[in-house]
């Protein structure tokens, strides 16, 4: 999509070469393409129009740079403006202690899950004993859901399954959290329509009672034009302090974020990227800008790799590979490293041009089976795969619930891999793994995209 926007822009601006300056007239067609791209990404109609006008104002009068295709020049202006807009404000949370956070939003936007995710993140950041309070008394079992997540993540929890008085529940939750010496208290609320007067009044009362330091709107990343109405009404009623954009592990382009940002001006603080409680990140405007324009998310991928791959372990592995004494034990360890980065699908989603693509059928299951097979071997067998005779293979297949052919296949592949390593051994580029890590480092530092 990015390519195609770039291509469209290049062809729309082709006749610009030698013209010297960008003008309203010679940019009209190109800006029409930009508008269409924004609308296709679910940016609100008016917001898209204003955005295009702003970009136009910036472009007009600029000299067409020598050596740069005018299309690229315009894409750069658009991208930068989008990053600027999306990134206005800070992702930092209020420094208050205890930090009180109120989560609000439409039905099914992901408030409960995000509540648990945020609490987990705060815990990681050093807040002591994060506490969650269940204020959704409407959706059946919503309180159960939060309680289960709280238990899973070892968070403090309070709710009341009898009371119908939401502000009172909030109050009691606050007291319980303070008694537990919580540094951070997050209030999960029921999904509500912005036009539901009673429910909006209820959450306003809750807000007045617990006096949160942060009021975060939780919005589905695939939200359409409705984003504008929702954001405006919630902001008017509750004075939002930030936005959490969820379900970004899908392929929605996330244009709603630009709409919400433009309408409320509140900063986007976090993004949800999966169903696991760890799938939650601080917001990065450049990534979302790329996504709205349809570019991949290389930076995220690189960072994820860096966060999760243990540097020492990687070095050790590289050394082993170089010496070609890589055994099945190492193979297993490496697979677990990759798994720490998230599901294969979410890794795929971050690669340029692959965001819409699917992990090949059964790849994830295949990996699980491979793991099961290796797990069913004795440590000795893992270190010396040549020990694996027919009867051992049968035992392993039975133990891992796979078939002997699968075990054989794995051993064959592993054999090929070892062969390859032996070939690489001692070559001029020994230490390929290290080199790869260096490359990743360089990409991260640059933070840019090819062709930009």
């Amino acid at each position: 999509m990015f390519e195609s926007l770039t291509e469209k822009l290049s062809s729309a601006l082709r006749n610009l070469r030698g013209v010297g300056q960008l003008s309203e007239a010679n940019m009209a067609e190109a800006l029409g393409e930009v508008r269409t791209a924004l609308l296709a990404a679910d940016v609100h109609f008016k917001v898209a129009r204003e955005f295009v006008e702003r970009v136009q104002a910036q472009c007009v009068g600029q000299a067409v740079l020598k050596g740069v295709a005018p299309g690229q020049q315009v894409v750069k202006i658009i991208h930068d403006e989008l990053v600027r807009l999306l990134g206005e404000g800070t992702t930092a949370l209020s420094p208050a202690r205890p930090l009180k956070i109120l989560m609000v939003g439409l039905h099914g936007s992901g408030k409960t899950t995000s509540t648990a995710k945020l609490a987990k993140l705060l815990k990681k950041r050093g807040y002591s004993a994060p506490f969650v309070v269940g204020c959704d008394i409407y959706r059946p079992a919503a309180i159960d859901q939060l309680e289960i997540l709280a238990r899973q993540e070892e968070l403090g929890f309070y709710s009341d399954r009898v009371s119908r008085d939401v502000p009172a529940i909030g109050d009691a939750g606050l007291a319980a959290a303070k008694a537990a010496n919580a540094d951070a208290i997050i209030f999960d609320t029921a999904g509500r329509l912005q036009i539901d007067h009673d429910l909006i009044a209820e959450v306003k009362n809750l807000r007045a009672r617990v006096q949160p330091d942060e009021v975060l709107l939780v919005a589905d990343g695939a939200l359409g034009q409705e984003a504008v109405n929702v954001a405006k009404a919630f902001h008017d009623a509750l004075a939002l302090t930030g936005l959490i954009l969820t379900k970004l592990d899908g392929d929605a382009r996330g244009g709603a974020a630009l709409s919400i940002k433009s309408i409320t001006g509140v900063p986007i603080k976090f993004v949800g990227t999966g169903e696991k409680t760890g799938d939650f990140d601080t917001f990065h405007p450049d990534r979302l800008a790329s996504r709205i324009l349809g570019m991949g998310d290389v930076v995220s991928l690189v960072e994820k790799a860096q966060e999760n791959i243990d540097q020492k372990e990687a070095e050790r592995m590289a050394e082993k590979m170089r010496k070609a004494d890589f055994n099945l034990e190492d193979f297993l360890a490496q697979m677990q490293q990759v798994k720490k980065m998230g599901s294969m699908q979410s890794i795929m989603g971050m690669m340029p041009g692959m965001s819409g693509m699917q992990v090949p059928d059964g790849a994830e299951a295949q990996m699980a089976r491979t793991e099961a097979i290796i797990h069913s071997m004795t440590p000795q067998e893992r270190r010396k795969p040549e020990l694996l005779n027919g009867s051992r293979r049968k035992r392993i297949a039975d133990g891992s619930g796979t078939k002997i052919v699968e075990v054989n296949q794995l051993m064959k592949q592993f054999g090929q891999m070892q062969q390859m390593m032996k070939m690489l051994k001692g070559g001029p580029n020994g230490g390929g793994m290290k080199k790869m890590m260096r490359q990743m480092e360089a990409m991260k530092g640059k933070g840019g995209f090819p062709g930009m």
Binding site: T36, L39, A40, A41, D42, H44, F45, K46, L106, H107, G108, S109, G110, Y138, R139, P140, A141, A142, D144, Q145, E147, I148, L149, Q152, L193, Q194, I195, D220, A222, L223, G224, Q225, E226, V228, N229, V230, K247, D249, G250, D251, A252, R253, G255, A256, E275, S343, Q345, G349, G356, Q358, V359, P360, D361, G362, A363, E364, A365
Partner: protein, 327 residues
Amino acid sequence: MFGLFKKFQAGFAKTVSALAGKTAALFGHKAVDAAALAEIEEALYSADFGVETTGEILAEIKTAVRKDPGLQGRQAAELGAAVLARVLAGSEGRIEGGARPPAALAAENTTGCLVPPATPTVIALIGVNGSGKTTTAAKLGWRLKQEGHTVMLAACDTFRAAAVEQLKAWAGRLDLEIVASRTGADSAAVAFDAMQAARVRGRDFLLVDTAGRLHTKVNLMEELAKIRRVLQKHDPAAPHHAWLVVDGSLGGNSVEQARVFHKSFGLTGLVVTKLDGTSRGGALAAIWRELRLPIYFIGLGEQPEDLQPFKVGSYARAVFGLEDKQD
């Protein structure tokens, strides 16, 4: 069997008032000028109709204005509604058209020929996280029960914390039969048991609630295929309906959702939820254009009665702020 859903029709007025608010002012008795056309365009885009449908409607209105410069807003609205109704023609899903008649029909049928033995009509509800599957399962169960059918629910979302409890709570509240296990259990096993129970007890409908999954997750799609396989052990035609439950406040991504779910699971229709807000679910037009999946119901709230059959005429008129024509 005639008018299986007769009662539903009365409730549709609710959509009209919910959807009409914004466009009402636009289509008065003033002549349509350039400014009005721009506003119509904006209104259509703001309803998530997207480039294609917006373009088509706008083009016809423009042509009409060119022919008759005195064309009033109200007439333009009528025209727009007619174009939209044409675009959506054939998109009303009706359960009677299912692969197999409900068991109740078999019982009613006195001629005794060509009616297969009674097995439940199975409806599987699938979709992304939070789209409204569980609530729809409950509301639909209640509807069918109101119509005199016997219904069983299958709690196959064994993934999300407390999803089983959520459907159980609904079943208790609405007095519906349910087969459920616990979180973490094998969803296909639950589907199998539920189908078994529904057959043994001779229930008319089995409604299968499933875990939310983003359409981009292949491994979770595989789980759906497994649910289908076990249902088919009981009845090769099951599930007779596989409906994608789509959140009506989403934008263009719902088209992608439908496309992918359809490709990997084979959908037979849609339920569009959360149209009780100010969103108008325009993305359904794009889905219909591309995939021709009929829309069976729309969700208009969280109460059991807030599930209404989709009616093209009412919907198209509501979008343009026109009252529903009584039929």
